[in-house]
């Protein structure tokens, strides 16, 4: 029973799409993938002041039940291989938010020998949030940008997602 990508575009399907998107965007569960400094800011974002629960976002411990991977911190080469495994374990539809300079492009650790310069070398990234580390409000803004992107997605007539590794090298 796969209706995905099969239905021609019409009024009903767009409304169904919008409903689906709205439900998904309002219960975005993110995986706790705190790697380094940004992890502290991510925890602060989940904490009482910024309170991500307002957006229906809750931290999850395992990739199997999460929709979003917030890559918060420096991705080392040793960890990069594991990141790919974790990403592949997440069920579709899945999103990746790259938080902070290190996971955007290596940032200040581009000089290092053991750091993977940018998480987009390993997995496709949907939203980049600049900052070192981004303050909780900046992360919230990035998440809202992701929600906006989700709202524009077409489900019944959607385009195929890019595969892992097909991202801009």
């Amino acid at each position: 029973m796969s209706l995905l990508n099969t239905v021609p575009e019409m009024v009903l399907t767009t409304k169904v799409d919008q409903l689906l998107n709205w439900t998904r965007k309002s219960s975005l569960w993110y995986m706790l993938f705190g790697l380094a400094c940004c992890a502290i800011e991510m925890m602060q974002t989940g904490g009482p002041r910024a309170d991500l629960d307002r957006f229906g976002m809750a931290p999850r411990a395992t990739p199997r039940v999460s929709d979003l991977m917030i890559v918060a911190g420096t991705l080392t080469l040793k960890m990069a291989l594991r990141t790919k495994v974790l990403y592949e374990q997440m069920p579709d539809p899945k999103y990746v938010l790259s938080m902070g300079s290190c996971s955007n492009c290596g940032g200040l650790f581009q000089l290092a020998y053991s750091v993977c310069d940018g998480v987009d070398k390993v997995i496709p990234v949907d939203v980049y949030v600049p900052g070192c580390p981004p303050r909780p409000e900046a992360l919230t803004e990035g998440l809202m940008l992701l929600q906006k992107k989700m709202m524009q997605e077409r489900w019944l007539v959607r385009e195929p997602r890019p595969r892992a590794g097909a991202a801009r090298a």
Binding site: R49, R54, C105, G106, L111, D120, Y128, A138, K149
Partner: protein, 202 residues
């Protein structure tokens, strides 16, 4: 037996202690800041003056001295200065800052003589691609700023320079008052990072 009862009493009282703290929060002021809506002021305006957000350059007062480019440990600033042979003026043809790579350390804004490069209190810059995070400040080549001996009198530049000098003074070392900007603004050769360290003299 008494230990058994004691344990139960202990458990109940300690849970009660904890719950008392928890319930007291019913009567405290809510703590959550409802970003981005339902805020009395923008977060940016509530941030302290020293907040190190995104970098910004005021080209009107940039002397093209390349001090910021040299101070940056990770080369996330790129400046190109050309010398115009006819007017003997330096032309700023490129001033790019890679905000995706920047680590917001503030080392670049410290040596700036006029406060041209400075941190703003902006932090909202999330985007779908990295290319959009490069701020390219020079769209058309502009002449670099040359401080006048008699003091600035151009009404278009005075407020910008005032803002810049306020920035410089705020962060300046109290001991050393900010020097007037130097005149020579020829692009210097950047030292190759790591070259000296790689030579192994003990």
């Amino acid at each position: 037996m008494s230990a058994y009862v004691g344990n139960i009493v202990d458990s109940v009282t300690s849970i009660f202690d904890g719950m008392a703290v928890t319930f007291s929060h019913f009567f405290r002021r809510p703590y959550t800041v409802q970003y981005p809506d339902r805020m009395p002021v923008r977060v940016q305006d509530a941030l302290p003056y020293r907040y190190r957000g995104f970098l910004e350059v005021d080209l009107e007062i940039c002397t093209g001295c390349l001090a910021c480019e040299r101070a940056c440990p990770i080369d996330c600033i790129a400046i190109d200065v050309l010398k115009n042979k006819e007017t003997k003026q330096n032309l700023l043809v490129r001033f790019d800052i890679d905000l995706a790579k920047c680590m917001y350390c503030g080392l670049c804004s410290e040596p700036c003589p006029t406060g041209s490069i400075h941190h703003t209190r902006e932090f909202e810059g999330a985007d779908y691609s990295l290319e959009s995070m490069v701020r390219r400040f020079v769209l058309d080549p502009v002449e670099t700023y040359k401080p006048k001996k008699s003091g600035e009198d151009d009404p278009a530049i005075v407020p910008i320079l005032e803002r810049g000098m306020r920035y410089v003074n705020e962060f300046a070392v109290p001991e050393a008052p900010p020097k007037p900007p130097k005149k020579d603004a020829a692009p210097a050769v950047k030292p190759a990072v790591g070259a000296a360290a790689a030579e192994g003299q003990p």
